[in-house]
Assembly symmetry: C2
DNA sequence: CTGAAAGCGCTAACAG
DNA sequence: CTGTTAGCGCTTTCAG
């Protein structure tokens, strides 16, 4: 069954050299487009290589030249919820990153790790597999991330800016997003706006601060009972909303820290006979593709994914090259849909 | 700004060896858990390595040992639609693959390529970056895939089985899925069921065949006008449905080749005043997370993603080891929701 | 049990 | 313009 070694062996530079009757160096030069090589020879070798569908062994090349064009992209998850990432936001981000990395001729090594063992990403770098890392989501691992930075691991994270941050983050303007969303609800005349999300996660926290600020600006008092703690995952969002409804706390609007949460919360509310937007107006965050197609279509805060991916990639490259890059914020915008049309 | 070489240089085996006062070979053996080494020495070296957070350089290790534990995962896309993958199905798949590959101690190299240049995936393998490739989605590239197989590239594809298939595919039972979905609609008394999808893409084609078979089994004649051609992308789905409605062809049910298509089609229908399920019953395919939260919640054909990822990974490993693996089918089930409750 | 030496596939001086 | 020579960081015979 197994082919003989000779038959199965991958073709390599030495083979091309022998076939072309030149030295290995010549092949190497020809294939890397060196200028100091006879054009005719270059052509001949290039064609030979193509006809044999030969591609330089990147591992060997990298080892020798010391470079590495693979970027690690990490989506942390919470292992105790023992479930897969399903938030469409992540796919959009991943796609955008893949596009921009490809544009820059980088490979993307995708890795999932437990959010609480974020130190593990260091191994990706230490082992030489990647030249830098993009971490999607800060969770509540600010200190861990600072430690990584102290270790000089080149990485950037998608998330919010924090005081005493030693690493580069790129994120949407969470504070302003929260402000926009909440102001919108308050201007609709809503009196009791629930915030649903995890204040311990940096991004959600900043959205929450925007929510608080909106109340302050409008001169509204904020009832602490209106904070509904909930992680960024679907079943938990449903459980959280069900529990909240069971408590019977009055509310007439909901600002959720992500579209996924918002949409699942709406499902629970509807099941309990609450109408959106008549009884409760809802605003989400992210503007994932489905937001326009939920029931009802969801008003949300959009973050331009394409810009986000581009910013993350370019910031990472800067970190790699200069050892540091300034954190950046991507502007957000409110997208109004039926879930707040009353 | 830039650190001196000495400061920035990554630590390596030689350093550990020097610090431990042993030879490089000893370190190598200690770290790879060789049996023929003094336990005390092993411990000492292991601790030293950990304290310096040293990890073997995988590139060098692979080059020397000839192995490679990186699998390429490719999501082809249509470059002319110049847009990102947004179908949540892909994220679910990717997450599942990442989990199962991680379990088996493989890395995942994520790559997007133009569906029509599927030959390009060969370069991933030729360049030695990956030991095998998982291609998500067959598109209409059956022949190209056969060519890859002929070139002995180890890969498996998520898709349907086709006659004269020289490669291993893993997929849901598309035919049966189509049959289930359509039978469900016909049993509801629906007379004119539209099929929306791309018959040129293998998977959609097989779902279509199930759709045809359902009509045959129920003794219904099938109007060719009820085939609505549409790729697996959102804007196209909307355009296609809008165009279909404009033609004024009567229909009372819709079976879409994916949830994404179904949900976006429902959006267009609603905008034109058609009610789901009262006027049109709709069934999708995939059972993505959002399907339960669309408006209305979508009846769909579910494919167990976890099994799918596992099957793809194990089949690929078999292909790598034995040069061949039998194609597999994952069972599907109909999930009934409001979009077909009349 | 441990060290010395060879070499994985490639690039990059260094000599022609 | 081209070939020769040394390694990149590691594993693995082969001798102790």
């Amino acid at each position: 069954m197994a082919k003989s070694d000779a038959e199965n062996r991958k073709i390599q530079m030495a083979d091309i050299a022998r076939l072309a009757g030149v030295s290995i160096s010549t092949v190497s030069r020809a294939l890397s487009g060196s200028t100091l090589i006879n054009e005719e020879t270059r052509q001949r070798i290039a064609e030979l290589a193509k006809s044999l569908s030969y591609t330089v062994n990147l591992g060997a090349k990298n080892l020798r030249s010391g470079e590495n064009r693979t970027v690690g992209v990490v989506i942390p998850y919470l292992s105790d919820h023992r479930q897969h990432v399903t938030d469409p936001f992540f796919l959009a981000m991943l796609g955008s990153l893949a596009d921009h990395l490809t544009d820059q001729n980088f490979d993307l090594l995708f890795s999932r790790i437990d959010a609480r063992d974020i130190q593990n990403v260091a191994a990706l770098y230490d082992s030489g597999r990647v030249c830098g890392i993009i971490i999607i989501g800060q969770w509540s691992q600010h200190d861990s991330l600072n430690q990584l930075a102290r270790r000089q691991i080149p990485f950037v994270v998608w998330g919010g800016q924090l005081p005493q941050q030693m690493y580069c983050s790129v994120g949407s303007d969470n504070y302003n997003g929260g402000l926009l969303a909440t102001t919108h609800l308050l201007q609709l005349g809503k009196q009791r706006v629930v915030f649903m999300g995890d204040r311990d996660a940096t991004e959600a926290q900043q959205r929450y601060q925007g929510y608080v600020a909106a109340h302050a600006q409008m001169g509204k008092v904020l009832d602490p009972d209106l904070y509904l703690s909930c992680p960024f995952t679907e079943p938990e969002a449903q459980v959280a909303m069900a529990g909240f409804l069971a408590k019977g706390i009055a509310f007439d609007a909901l600002f959720a820290a992500s579209d996924l949460i918002a949409i699942h919360a709406m499902g629970v509310m509807r099941a309990q006979g609450l109408q959106v937007p008549q009884d409760v107006c809802v605003v989400g965050y992210d503007d994932v593709g489905m937001a326009a197609h939920s029931f009802p279509p969801l008003t949300t805060v959009s973050q331009p994914m394409d810009l986000a991916g581009e910013a993350l990639v370019s910031s990472l490259l800067t970190v790699i090259r200069q050892g540091h890059a300034d954190s950046r914020m991507i502007t957000t915008a409110l997208v109004e849909r039926d879930s707040t049309r009353i």
